[in-house]
Subunit: 247 residues, 2 copies
Amino acid sequence: MFDLGRIAIVLVETSSPGNLGSVARVMKNMGLKRLILVDCQADLTEETRQRARGAHDLLEKAVRTNGLASALKSFHLSVATGSRPARWFERSLRPREMAAELKALTPGDQVAIVFGPERTGLTNEHLQYCHWQVKIPTAPAFPSLNLAHAVAILAYELSQGLSESPSKEGRELAELGQIEAFSQDLEECLKEIQFLKKQNPREIMMTLRQMLARAALDDRDIRILRGILRQWKWYSRANTHPGRDGG
Amino acid sequence: MFDLGRIAIVLVETSSPGNLGSVARVMKNMGLKRLILVDCQADLTEETRQRARGAHDLLEKAVRTNGLASALKSFHLSVATGSRPARWFERSLRPREMAAELKALTPGDQVAIVFGPERTGLTNEHLQYCHWQVKIPTAPAFPSLNLAHAVAILAYELSQGLSESPSKEGRELAELGQIEAFSQDLEECLKEIQFLKKQNPREIMMTLRQMLARAALDDRDIRILRGILRQWKWYSRANTHPGRDGG
């Protein structure tokens, strides 16, 4: 199985204390643990702590380096984030393609995903150390993603499909016999209130049966629906009884 | 082609000015434009503006409402974000499944994606207005996503593969406002026959609302259901009238 422990998030010259916290939080949400801060320009402030919300440990354990080259020394592959022309790179991928490619790597390969400074993104100087590029598709008129949002989307893609098959915890549907019994009760009531007289009764009942089918009723639903009809009959008899209503 | 203009992001009782800005920014990055603020607890501050980074227009154009019900009136489908047990919902989906399902809806259907307050998420009160649920998979030990990160991930999934062709030819669903009006009529009738006295009324109504949501009602369905209640009221009055029943 693919192991997220092989992936490190590398932040280059991050300048916003809030972004540091925010990145740590979403990394921890998505099961990523390795954070490397290259030439970090931001202090760990109160805002960092607030935005990290319980993921401050990732920041405390983060590896700090001077220069991207030394940060990447022990990795087998580095992926630049951003939107430089693709010709700079061996491969230019969308997030989902990147996730699929990384999962196909040899187990044991260490992968760095590299994020540039907030204002400029990765410079040419940085890019010479990156093999692949990943581009998050955005609206052309407003392409600049927040650093933590970019991490969130890539971390989400990487964590996808790791444990596959979540199994929809399914509801147990009621037996068809129960639904049919309710439909018949309902039909009887609708005749009694003279609803089915007015219009095409068969067509109306068919439409109601289709609604019930789509509603995917379980046992409790059916009990409630039958309870309503029972109560309605009780109420209807109680209130039409001459002894009570007699003028 | 699928049109992101059909999707609104609905933020319920957001309390952080920074989150407002952050959500606006990533919405604009991903091509989403419709923002609805329900009972917003946050002012638009300098921090909002900084975090919005050029997407402040989305906040200025945001629709503000009191109460989730009125926010959702003109929508055909609402999707709750969070991680409640799946049995509460017609469908519980992963982000990618949700995106695929939404793209298969009838063109013209309006969809609301609903995000709860930062601290609590959506409450039971809110959930009764939601049909589907979308769960963003997270590390079990650290599941609480930042609001803007959740928006980022879902907006990213929605904006993915937009040019892929949809679409099942579907039924045109009734507007939520119509379904809500029927639910209220129904509740009134159930009170009258004293059904709602006996058991937990809120829970019963929630279950009935969920059945209605699952039934994917169209305009004709709603007309029939409302017709039944109208006819029942007529019948009920006619038969309890002393002049007719007098003994």
